[in-house]
Symmetry: D2
Subunit: 330 residues, 4 copies
Amino acid sequence: MGSNSFGQIFCITTWGEAHGKAVGVGIDGGPAGSELSEEAINVQLAKRAPGRHPLTSPRKEPDQAELLSGVFEGQTTGAPISILIPNRDVDSSKYEPIKHLLRPGHANDTYLKKYGIFDYRGGGRSSARETACRVAAGAVAKKFLLQFGIRPQAVLKEVGGEQDYVELLKQVQEEGDSLGGVVEVTVPQLPKGLGEPIYHKMEALLAQAMLSMPASKGFEMGAGFRAALMRGSEHNDSFVDQTTNHAGGTLGGLTNGRPLVFRVAFKPTASIVKPQQTKTIDGKDAVLKLPPGSRHDPCVAIRAVPVVEAMTALVLADCLLLDRCSINQY
Amino acid sequence: MGSNSFGQIFCITTWGEAHGKAVGVGIDGGPAGSELSEEAINVQLAKRAPGRHPLTSPRKEPDQAELLSGVFEGQTTGAPISILIPNRDVDSSKYEPIKHLLRPGHANDTYLKKYGIFDYRGGGRSSARETACRVAAGAVAKKFLLQFGIRPQAVLKEVGGEQDYVELLKQVQEEGDSLGGVVEVTVPQLPKGLGEPIYHKMEALLAQAMLSMPASKGFEMGAGFRAALMRGSEHNDSFVDQTTNHAGGTLGGLTNGRPLVFRVAFKPTASIVKPQQTKTIDGKDAVLKLPPGSRHDPCVAIRAVPVVEAMTALVLADCLLLDRCSINQY
Amino acid sequence: MGSNSFGQIFCITTWGEAHGKAVGVGIDGGPAGSELSEEAINVQLAKRAPGRHPLTSPRKEPDQAELLSGVFEGQTTGAPISILIPNRDVDSSKYEPIKHLLRPGHANDTYLKKYGIFDYRGGGRSSARETACRVAAGAVAKKFLLQFGIRPQAVLKEVGGEQDYVELLKQVQEEGDSLGGVVEVTVPQLPKGLGEPIYHKMEALLAQAMLSMPASKGFEMGAGFRAALMRGSEHNDSFVDQTTNHAGGTLGGLTNGRPLVFRVAFKPTASIVKPQQTKTIDGKDAVLKLPPGSRHDPCVAIRAVPVVEAMTALVLADCLLLDRCSINQY
Amino acid sequence: MGSNSFGQIFCITTWGEAHGKAVGVGIDGGPAGSELSEEAINVQLAKRAPGRHPLTSPRKEPDQAELLSGVFEGQTTGAPISILIPNRDVDSSKYEPIKHLLRPGHANDTYLKKYGIFDYRGGGRSSARETACRVAAGAVAKKFLLQFGIRPQAVLKEVGGEQDYVELLKQVQEEGDSLGGVVEVTVPQLPKGLGEPIYHKMEALLAQAMLSMPASKGFEMGAGFRAALMRGSEHNDSFVDQTTNHAGGTLGGLTNGRPLVFRVAFKPTASIVKPQQTKTIDGKDAVLKLPPGSRHDPCVAIRAVPVVEAMTALVLADCLLLDRCSINQY
C-alpha cells in the first residue's frame, strides 16, 4: 500500500495538488448497500470549505464533489468509489516570487530533498487541500457508520490555550501571526471489541490517522498525558462505578463500551504575514514576505475539526468491517 | 497484513502468549548483509528484562533469544529472520482464582467480547510480554541503522510528574499502587527526507508505533501539545537560526535534518496490589485482590524505555528502505 | 489493500464502470523524475481502443486520458498520479431488455449474489473497459522501465488454435460466435534477481496479474505445461549452453538473465450473437438474444495484447523498485 | 507485506532454511473458535513428508509440528498461531563439494546475485522444505473451512504425461533422471460469490498461490488452455444445463456455485543424478555430479499434491473471511 492510502478493508487513496486541476479520493473495499449521493458528500465538504468564516482563509472553493463511480441507483455497489473535487479558485502567480525560498514550517525543503522536484504552487501535494479528500471519503464512512448508530463528533476545544478565543484570534490575525489549537473527539456509542490487537489497536490507528494530518503535533487518549501524573488506583476505570473514562474508551486496544475520547494538538499555521528571515534553496539569506492578498487561516485547528471527524469515521468503518473476521462463525 | 505485524518493507510479526511455551517474532523484508547474532539480540533484551531492578517486576526471565533463521555465517541473507524467546518463569496458578473477574485497566473483558475466548493466564496475548519481541526485532533494525550512523535514544523523562522519582516510586509501591510516566526519544542524526507523504508521515508511523504499546496514552512531536499554545512566529523553526526544534525534526512528514524528538505518555500500571471493587464476567459484584506474590511493575514506563527505542528503530529502518524507491534512478 | 489495487510499491488502483461517467486509475508509489505526458498515455491507450479494427468491437471510444495529478513541468513528482478516461460512446438502452437475464460467461449472477446489487449497464464494474485503466497505468510503468532498457513485448500467438487466423475469425464472427486465443510475452533484457522469494516470485506475481484479466484462463512460464512432459535432463537450462530457456527466465522465482517468456490463454468472448437458452434472475426459462447492434469483440485476446503488456510492465516496475531494498547498502 | 507472507486477512508468513534448526509458519488473522491441535497439523504434514514412499526422497523428517501460540483449551483464540517444525535429518556435508557450482534449475545463482550471500546448504531458503510450512498452515485453514463444509481435494493427474506412471517413474529414477507432472484440484461445494473483483479474483489468487510453489510452471482454470481453442457457444456454461464447467467454477472472478477446478503443471525435479556440465560461480567450466546418497524426488509433483491442497485451503479461508465485508449489514 502506498503512502497516500489509509485503511485495510475500507481503504482510501487520495491524490491531487493544491493548484492542479482537481484533487480526489478513491475508496476501495467499502461495502455494498449504503445510500450515497453527491449531496451527502457536499454537505460534509461544506463544513471544511474555506471562505465561509471571517477567521478562515478567503480562498473560495465551492468544493462540489463529482461522484464518478461505485454507486448505482443511489446505492453503493461494492465497486470502488471515485470522488473528484475540482480546484476552481486557483491563483499560482503569487507563489512565483517565493518559489526559491525555504518556507519555515513548510515541506518544500524536505520534498525537494526526497524527490528532487517539487510542485511549489500552493504547496502542491503537501497542501492542506488534500484534507478535502479526507472529508469526502469520511462522508462515505459516516453513511456506513450511521446504520450502526455510530456518530463521531469533533469539536474545537481550545485555540491558543483559550476556550473562548474569538477576540484573541482576531487580534493575532491583525498582527499577521497565527495560533495553535486542540480538537477533541467523542464517539458516544460504540460496540465493544472494535480495533485489532497489538499493532492495529484502536488508539494506534487513530494516532496514525491524526498525526497524518498536516500541522498535527500530538495525540492523546482519555486522560492522555495527564495519565502519566496519576496513580493506578485513580486511573483504572471501575467496572462498578462507570462514571470515569480515563482510558478514553479502549482496553487492550479494543473499544470497551464507554465513549471513545481523544484529543489532537495542532501547531499554529506556518504561513504567517509577518516577514521571516530565511534562506533560498541555494542557501543564500532571504526574507520571506508573503505577497499581499495571501490566503491563509490564522488557526488551522478551526478547519481541522471536520477533517478530524472524517478520519475518525474512516478508522471506525475499517475496524467495524475487520471485526467481522474475528470469529469462526459470524 | 494482520494486526500483529508492523512495517511495510522491514516488516515484523510477533506471536505468543505470556504463559505459553514461548513468544517470538519474525522479520520479513530486512536487507541482506547486516551482521547479526543471538548475542546482539540478547544485549537488547537484557535492557527490558524484568527482575533486574528493585523497581521492576520480580518475574525472572532470562530472555535468551534463539535465532532460528535468516542468518548465514553471521550475516543476514535477506530471508525471513525468526526469533524465539522461551517463556521460562511461568506460574499460571496465581491467575486461576481471578480468572472470572473483570480486571480494571486490563483487556480480558474486551478480548472476551471480541473473540468469545481468552487465554487469561498472565494476560495471554494482551500481556506486555509481547514487547520482548519488539525489542528483539528492534535489535535487528538497530544493526541495520548503525551502518548509516543512526542511533535512536530513549530516556525515561519523568515518573509521576517527577524527574527525580525514586523515593516517590518506592513509596507508591509500598502503598500497593502504581505511577505513570513519560518517555522521550531523540534521534540525533538522520538523513533528510525520511518518511512518506500523507498517511505514512514519519510522525504518523511513530504515533502508530507508540500507541500500539501497552499502557501508552499519548504521543507528541517536538513542542507537541505546547505547540497548541504558541504563535506561528514563535513555533516556526528558522532556516537561519537552527537552534530551535519545535517541529521535532520533520516538515511535511519527512525528516528535516534536525534531531527527531518526541515523547510518549504511559498510564500507571493497571495491576495494583490495592484491592479494587469490580464485577465478575457474569456481572456479579466482586473484589479483585491480587494474590500474594503477584508480580508487577510499579511503573510500566521504566521498562517501556527499550521498547520505545526498539519501535523507533523499526520505523526508521522501514522508512530508510522505502526511501530508496522515491526517485527514478538510485 | 483493496481488490482493485495491484502492486506493493508501484501500486495502482482502478475504478469506474463501463457506462459510468468515466473510468480511471491512480498510481501511488511511482518514483519521481520520470517524464510523463497525456500524450504518452494516449499512445498506449490507442493500442487497446475499440473500433479501430474490423475484428474488434465497434464501440467508439476516443480514450483520451486526462492526467490530473502527480506531474509537474513534465516530470513525475513522486505524488500520486491520477488518470481519468471519460466514457463517451455509452448507450445503456440496449442493456435494459436483458437486465433480468443471467448471461452465460458473465458476472452478473455472481456479483448480484455477493453484493445484492449490480450495475448491469455494459457489465458495470466487471466490464473489460476496466482494462483501459491498466493500459494507462502501464504507460507510466513503461516510461520508468525504459530508463533501464526494459521493454516488455506481447504478441497475439494464436486465435482458435491458428497462427494465421483472419479468415477463420471473420467466418466465426459471421456465425455470431467467438474464438479464444493465446498471448505471449517476451521481455528480452532484464537485470538478474528481480522478483521476491516465496510468495512474490516473479512468476507468481505475473500469474496473478494475468489471471486478474477478464477472460483469462491460463498462465504458463517458459515450457509451461509442456514441462510436465519433460525429463529433468532435458528441462534444466544449462549454464554452459545458453540457447534454451525452458524455465522462461526465472530460477527460484527471480529473473535469471535470460528473456522472460510466458503465455496467457483467453477464453472465447462470452457475449455472442447466437441466441442462448438461459434463466432469468428469478429462475425462469428465457432466451438471451443480444439486441441488434450489440457491440462485442469476436476474440478478446486481440485487444488483450496491450493489456497483457501493460500488466507485465506494472509487475516489473514494482519488482525493480522492491529490489532496491534487498541489500543493506545500495 | 513481505514476500514470505500470503493472504490478506488469513495471513501466513513462513520462515526457515532447509538445513537450519527449524522451519516454521505464523498465521495471523485466523478467526477465534476453531478447534486446533498439534495432531491435526501433523496428520497433514505426514501427507507431504519425505521418506514414506519408494518414489520420494529418502530424507527422513518426522515433521512433528510444535504449536507454540494462538490456541487455548483446544480452540484458536484469534491470536497469531506459531508453528515450528524442527529440521532433524539434516546433513549439510554433502553440499560442501558443490557449493561453488551453479546448479541448473536451481536458485543459487539468482539468490547470490540478489542478496550477495546464499545459504547453499540444502538449497537454504529456496528449498522445497518451505512447503512443509504451507501444509501446516493449510491444516489450520482446512479446520476453519470444514465448518462451512468446504473440502479442497488435490490429486496427481499425470506424471510424465501418463496417468499410470509407476513403471515409467521407476525407470526414469534408475536412469538418474526425473519427470514432470500435473496436479488437479477440485473443490466440490462452495458458496457463491467468493473471491474479490479485479485484482483479487479467485483465479488470480489461486494462480499466485500455485506459481509461488517451487517447480510450478503453469496454472489453468476449468478448460484452461483448451478454452483458447473453443468457440463461445461451446465454452459458455449454460445456466439451464448445468453439466458443463468450462469456466472452472468462477464468473467475473467470483465462485459461481459449480465446483472449483484447476490444474498446476510442475517441471521435472531439477536435482538429477545424471552428471551435468555447468559453471562455477566464478565462471569456470565444471561438472555437477551429485554426491552418492543425494536425496531427491524423481518427480516433485507427487509430494506437491498436499501442498497444492494446502494453498487452495489458504486462498479459500482468506476469501471466506473477506467476503464478510462485502455488504453493509452482515
